[in-house]
Symmetry: C2
Subunit: 452 residues, 2 copies
């Protein structure tokens, strides 16, 4: 039996998960997803996409989060994925090297038909479908990375469409699961080159659309009889850059949503820059020198290439700064806030540019990181002063990463800052926690739709 068939059988045979630790992680992921979506729902680009959807039209079935609107399933997938990711504020998974929930939850939610009272969707099955989506995405990532990512692929979309397809097919127990995975795999695209443009965010929506349309076309009766994974012309051969080991041995015993776990963000820059931000903030708090005294700054990354996502060394627009170690370090060293307004489409100021010009990147491997540092990643900032002194700061487990997580209070505050209304925030948190008890997910969306 080939790997694609093995994967399909494992997915189909997965029982609804009740392990509290797993469910707790899923609940956190869903909470964060709504916080990111609602934080973004008044954004300019979101309104542009809304206007396009109104112009295209279609039968109204699936929820646009935070917009009090029903649209087609493909439109909902595209839109919700874009909206959830468009502040780069949503969760990350280190095996994926990308954003899983913006894709998987957007596709799952888009697949729920709200125009029919016949279809009930068990919320516990929904939670398990989400866990399975994360699992498939992380397993694919573990198999093809780091080469896949370093080659230039944007894993959020290349792996996300397949993962979201697995999740939808599990939710509805679709008989064509393996064909749907193949159909999603043959739509896998997305270049990291687009980071720093709004298309990076559209990638999350496209991946969710790939999943939804794959399932719809198979339901319509179009066949895709082929296994996608380990053929010599298959997904691993094409996207794996030589990596073809796909490890299914832990399926059902441990889940990737728990270990290594999701990485949540309270900022809108790339999580690879979180190390930089934490180091910069500590340096700023402890600094006892004038900026004029800085001779140069070296940013050490370990292991080599762990800065692959930070593609801008000399960004000119603030939005490119999401992917710039230099920009995030300059902001923190200057004591500037790291809010959304610092990552807009505006040009970067000269003061920041001058500070960035003093920085260079380097790579080192001799230091031993904290044993819980994921993949042995760490960052060291060395500031060399004109008087010959050096000030240094190392970060190996940044805030928000699974081993240094935000508290429940911090997560609730993130949701509150998106919703802005205390009572509504508490109601939504209560409702999200009820998903673990088993209720109709469709009803959850409908009541949610009409209160927010």
């Amino acid at each position: 039996m080939n790997l694609g068939q093995q994967l399909s059988i494992l997915i189909k045979n997965t029982s609804i998960i009740s392990d509290p630790q797993v469910i707790d992680c899923a609940i956190k992921g869903i909470t964060d997803y709504f916080a990111c979506s609602l934080q973004a729902c008044q954004k300019d680009d979101v309104h542009k996409l809304l206007a396009w959807i109104a112009d295209e039209g279609g039968n109204t079935r699936a929820l646009l989060i935070g917009q009090k609107k029903l649209v087609t399933a493909r439109q909902a997938a595209l839109f919700n994925g874009f909206q959830a990711h468009c502040l780069d504020y949503d969760d990350v998974h280190s095996d994926v090297r990308g954003h899983p929930s913006a894709v998987i939850l957007s596709a799952l939610i888009a697949s729920v038909r709200l125009d029919s009272i016949e279809q009930k969707v068990d919320s516990r099955r929904f939670l398990t479908a989400y866990v399975i989506g994360i699992e498939v995405m992380a397993l694919l990532g573990k198999s093809v990375n780091p080469q896949h990512y370093e080659k230039g692929w944007h894993a959020t979309i290349t792996l996300g469409g397949i993962a979201a397809t697995a999740a939808i097919c599990y939710l509805y127990d679709e008989p064509f699961l393996s064909q749907a995975l193949t159909l999603a795999a043959t739509q896998a695209s997305g270049m990291r080159l687009l980071m720093g443009t709004p298309i990076k965010f559209l990638h999350a929506g496209l991946a969710a659309q790939h999943a939804v349309q794959s399932v719809e076309w198979l339901r319509a009766g179009i066949h895709a009889d082929q296994d996608f994974l380990d053929d010599k012309l298959g997904f691993l051969a094409i996207y794996g850059q030589g990596n073809t080991h796909f490890d299914l041995s832990h399926w059902g015993k441990t889940w990737k949503i728990v270990d290594p776990g999701l990485w949540f963000k309270n900022y809108s820059y790339c999580s690879a820059a979180a190390y930089i931000a934490d180091a910069g903030q500590l340096l700023y708090q402890n600094l006892s020198f004038e900026f004029d005294n800085i001779n140069n700054i070296v940013i050490y990354f370990a292991p080599p290439n762990s800065d692959a996502a930070l593609i801008y060394k000399t960004p000119s627009l603030a939005q490119q700064g999401r992917f710039s170690a230099e920009y995030v370090l300059a902001l923190t060293l200057l004591g500037l806030p790291l809010g959304f307004e610092q990552f807009s489409s505006q040009p970067i100021s000269n003061a920041i540019k001058q500070l960035m010009q003093k920085m260079k990147r380097s790579y080192q491997t001799h230091l031993t990181p904290h044993p819980e540092a994921y993949n042995g990643r760490y960052v060291i900032i060395d500031i060399f002063l004109k008087n010959g002194k050096k000030i240094s700061q190392c970060i190996d487990i940044p805030k928000g990463s699974p081993k240094n997580p935000y508290s429940q209070t911090e997560m609730s505050l993130k949701l509150h800052s998106a919703i802005k209304d205390q009572a509504k925030t508490e109601q939504l948190l209560t409702d999200i926690h009820k998903l673990a008890k088993g209720l109709d997910f469709r009803q959850f969306l409908l009541s949610y739709l009409f209160t927010l």
Copy 2:
């Protein structure tokens, strides 16, 4: 200036083409496109996709060819691309190693809004847009092939979406051309693995959809400020397998639709098997032996890997036989017709399987092909008889290929066999030829829509 910018400027500055040889090729391509689309318009899978479109709904703007229906532009692109390609009966371009017109014309036609009387589309500009689409697709193919194709990519979709985007942007003189190319490029996907399944045909529709939605999202105001082609994380780096030479030096002097030109088909198997079919038919006409006397058959391909598209050596379903040298050779040696019914979803008979078992493939390079044989390709069939004799047949310029083209009469017959009505066929042929004179392409589609 980088390659993406150079390409965009060349496209924008291209004048409407009036060279009769170029226009003649474009007219032939359009004629063939309608023949393929209309031949397929009652097919089962086409009806399934129609039902899916009706279920999704949307504002009605763009033509579904041969279906007397208007749908959304994205649906029309997807459907028309699928329909035009779903018999594998449509044109091929050797630089592309795929099917250009099914993608480019489907996207162009889907982009024409038929719900508004304000928008006029000059048919001469339409023809030039089509020529530009073919040019971009062939230039991309020339740059990334053969490695791109051999790696497992399906060039019809990976290159087609970008090419069709170039065509649409030229047609409407869109200011965001280079961004649209980037947005199409980041959607480039499609595995050759899917050959032998209906998804191969859906790939043509997906590519057309990639183009249409790229243009729509840019019109909606979503930005994609990045050049796609020659960045170190760009299209050529990711999809070129090391090939990064992209030759723009002939732009506007010669056109790829003329040289090497389009390859038309009067059969529904892969054009790589056309060499086999021609050889098999000649052998059948000259055969003077019993099948029991065949000891074994060797199929020589030159140059090596020129059989890459023929992925099935032992097909079990007739539809897989489209991509099987062995199946097509067995059909011809047995004197069986090569009509659509021989490439259905039915199992292959035992008589054919037994004959296929006597065949093996080999590769050779010592023979000099005809100087006009494209890329030096040829096929030799050696039949070894039990009495020690050998019967041999070589084909280097198969029927339908640009250097051995179908006559105008043969092309008209192909259209007639699709439309079935002589008067309507003649009317359509007359209308298509009028496109070169300059008329509103929208009116052409509308009158066409209401007569067929």
